[in-house]
């Protein structure tokens, strides 16, 4: 009997980050969980509203939380870093300001009232705290031998501190994950720096420069690849990172993996979920070189 856990996808997970979603589903299945996409979800309203008087922009995330409660659940897992951050910040705002919650509930007269019972998990948090990395470790079939990978966090997982899933200056969760998957961790002080976020639309070159700055430190130290969790960071480091090759002589963008993809590879899950075709820089070459990639699901 599989354990159910409610899942909030967000817009991008259905399009440019489909591979992130598919691999997450596959992992959960392998671990004995069923990711159930929640009913009637709407855009999370990224990014979190920052002005003191703005309640309007909390409506969208709040509505999602209400629907989680409606489905009789108190836990929801989110894959997208930015959605997770936004939902968590709203959750925190209404918990700390009951007057604001009253106003918001009253405004959404066609919805039920939010009672404040939901806990929002980032998928990584869920894997670490509710399932436990050691469970995953036991299931590793193809350890990522000889792969030197740089973990990258970006902003949304770690800041602001109130909603962070790990220490904001020197987080270890991705490094720990890489270690149990058998890879070598190339640590990097720029792992917590912002990738450029939405500037990728209007300030492409700025984002390319960011990608270069973030990656080159690790590349100098022999990193083969980057592992991250946010779909926007992925785009920025992958696509805009490739564009950075034109700006910086001798720079070669290394492949970028979602952590779920690497877990899937290490666990020997069905290759059809990997979704490596969605990447700009082909990530399969490296995996093949290291003898980690396989084309069939490994039977237990």
């Amino acid at each position: 009997m599989q354990k159910r856990i409610l899942y909030y996808p967000g817009c991008t997970l259905k399009t440019t980050a489909k591979n992130l979603e598919k691999t997450a589903y596959a992992i959960m299945q392998a671990l004995g969980y069923e990711l159930v996409e929640m009913h009637d979800w709407n855009c999370c309203g990224v990014v979190a509203s920052l002005t003191t008087d703005d309640l309007m922009h909390h409506l969208a995330p709040l509505r999602n939380l209400i629907h989680v409660e409606d489905q009789g659940e108190d836990k929801v897992v989110v894959l997208c870093d930015m959605c997770c951050n936004t939902l968590k910040q709203t959750n925190l705002r209404v918990k700390e300001n009951p007057d604001d919650l009253k106003t918001l509930n009253a405004f959404m007269d066609r919805e039920n009232d939010y009672k404040g019972t939901v806990k929002v998990y980032h998928f990584l948090e869920f894997l670490r705290d509710e399932i436990g990395f050691d469970v995953i470790k036991k299931m590793v079939k193809k350890p990522l031998h000889d792969m030197r990978i740089m973990p990258y966090y970006g902003c949304m997982l770690l800041r602001p501190r109130e909603v962070a899933i790990d220490d904001a200056e020197d987080p270890q969760i991705l490094s720990d994950l890489l270690t149990i998957l058998g890879a070598e961790v190339i640590d990097n002080p720029f792992k917590i720096e912002c990738c450029g976020s939405y500037h990728t639309i209007e300030e492409k070159q700025l984002v390319s420069r960011r990608a270069y700055r973030i990656t080159s430190y690790a590349v100098e130290r022999g990193a083969d690849a980057i592992m991250l969790s946010c779909p926007l960071c992925h785009f920025n480091l992958d696509v805009r990172g490739k564009e950075a090759e034109k700006l910086f002589k001798g720079y070669k963008q290394i492949p970028i993996y979602y952590y779920t993809q690497l877990i899937s590879v290490a666990l020997g899950l069905d290759p059809s979920v990997y979704g490596f075709d969605q990447h700009m820089v082909d990530p399969t070459l490296l995996l093949k070189k290291k003898g980690v990639l396989h084309t069939r699901k490994i039977e237990i």
């Binding site: 002005t51 209007e202 785009f235």
Partner: protein, 142 residues
């Protein structure tokens, strides 16, 4: 200023502040007390986007404190991506992220947009993840 920007400096100069002073409006919108700033420069040193900025973040705060409305013309407040690095490290516990948001909101709420949506090329609309667009609209459009 970038190609897509539709900012009108003349319109900005016509802005009337609700509380009479720029700093008071910023304080109210952000909930932060800008006078507690020691001008130590930590925020600017940690900001990932300083290369492209005309005013550095600590200078933005100083301009607001000195009631200089030219700060609303700066590129800096639009370059801020709300990454929170400054707010996390500030020794005075000032949330500069919120201050930048407040400055943007002062402009956006008077129906002056920074980004002209129509100017974004089709190809990019199709390849860039939606969440980037949602964030952009949130930050740059009123």
């Amino acid at each position: 200023m970038t190609k897509n920007q539709a900012l009108n400096t003349r319109e900005i100069s016509k802005i009337v502040f609700k509380k009479g002073e720029l700093v008071k409006e910023v304080e109210e919108l952000s909930g932060e007390n800008l006078f507690g700033c020691y001008q130590c420069g930590t925020c600017s040193a940690g900001c990932p986007f300083v290369e492209d900025m005309d005013l550095l973040p600590d200078e933005v705060i100083r301009y607001v404190v000195l009631d200089r409305r030219e700060v609303l013309n700066s590129k800096t407040i639009w370059l801020c991506a709300s990454c929170y690095t400054c707010a996390e490290r500030c020794p005075r516990d000032i949330n500069i992220t919120k201050i930048m948001e407040a400055l943007r909101q002062i402009i956006l709420r008077r129906k002056i947009d920074y980004t002209d949506v129509l100017k974004i090329p089709k190809k990019e609309r199709e390849t860039i993840p939606q969440l980037a667009f949602v964030s952009l609209f949130r930050k740059n459009i009123g």
